[in-house]
Subunit: 187 residues, 2 copies
DNA sequence: GTCTATAACCTGATAGAC
DNA sequence: GTCTATCAGGTTATAGAC
């Protein structure tokens, strides 16, 4: 692991614990046992660290969605796949997911725009899947936006909830959440 | 409206927009067209403003929950009431709800402890309602914590979603969300 | 590649004039 | 009750020694 990667890794822990704004470059350097100025040999700004963490996750979600879309399956199968992927990524990468959800607003300029583009595209893909389900009669006549929100709100906050209750079996978690979310919207 | 109340009101807008840590006392003063030092004639610290906003909401939720408990109805009716109250409070008070969700971790000392006490009690009451439903056979044999989370995660993030889509009819929103959340867990 | 020193600025909060 | 001036400390980031 390069020094740069070590910095990103240490930042993930601190940013998740206390929030991006609350962590100073001195804090980050101290957690790695050297001085703040030395960080700038490996990264060019604090915001660059945040951007790398957040955009990595966003690109990963985009890839997973591409894969789901390529299945060409019915709505229930596709929703199931999206939910399962989302949960698996969350359980494997909880720090990064927490940072994405809590601190993406602190991205600046081009990073902010790229994140928003990826996030909007992901939401639009999920919206398309839901609409396809409404047209095929798999989903009741509820407002598409509300269906979209009811699913995403649960998936996007799973990280904070799982943290406090990590005793729960990952398999049961995935099964129960998938079932609850699908039962809520599938006819 | 006293000057103190005006300050709280202005803080709600700014804290919600940019987050508690990102808003300086100078920013807050500027938005009211006077200087930062003057704020301290009406409030004793920045954290006191946050505490007033957050604890007000928390006490309000506690009162609503007391009322639901006093109904002594079956699980479905009680869940329906909790969900409805939660949505109504959110639509009427979106700034304060957003601040509670995003910035309660910045509370300090006694304020932090009081908030946690209220929040834990609210969660425990909802957990009791769910467990009562499991025992009465109204809810399937899913893990209680997962049922609790699937409901709260959606309700607690409604504020951010409603903001962008305020065109949606409040009545339909309440009906659809209630139906989706209940269908997910009620047998 | 890490250090010390420092620039330039922002932070919450207070003292005291008016 | 608002102002100016100020304090003590924190912020990101850079320059130059080693």
């Amino acid at each position: 692991m390069t020094r740069r990667e070590e910095i990103i890794k240490a930042a993930k822990v601190l940013f998740r614990e206390r929030g991006y704004r609350s962590v100073s470059m001195r804090d980050l350097a101290k957690s790695m046992d050297f001085k703040a100025a030395s960080l700038y040999n490996h990264i060019s700004s604090k915001e660059e660290i945040l951007a790398e963490i957040v955009l990595d996750v966003a690109h990963f979600f985009t890839k997973e969605m591409e894969q789901v879309k390529s299945l060409g399956a019915d709505t229930k199968t596709q929703l199931e796949a999206v939910i399962n992927h989302h949960i698996l990524i969350t359980l494997e990468n909880p720090e990064a997911i927490a940072i994405v959800n809590n601190d993406w607003l602190h991205l600046e300029g081009i990073h902010f725009e790229e994140f928003l583009k990826l996030r909007n595209a992901y939401e639009q893909d999920l919206r398309d899947i839901i609409n396809q389900g409404v047209n095929a009669g798999e989903i009741g006549s509820k407002n598409t936006e509300i269906v979209l929100f009811s699913i995403l709100s649960t998936l996007r906050t799973l990280h904070s909830w799982y943290r406090k209750r990590s005793g729960i079996d990952g398999e049961q978690l995935r099964n129960d959440i998938t079932e609850i979310l699908l039962r809520g919207v599938i006819k």
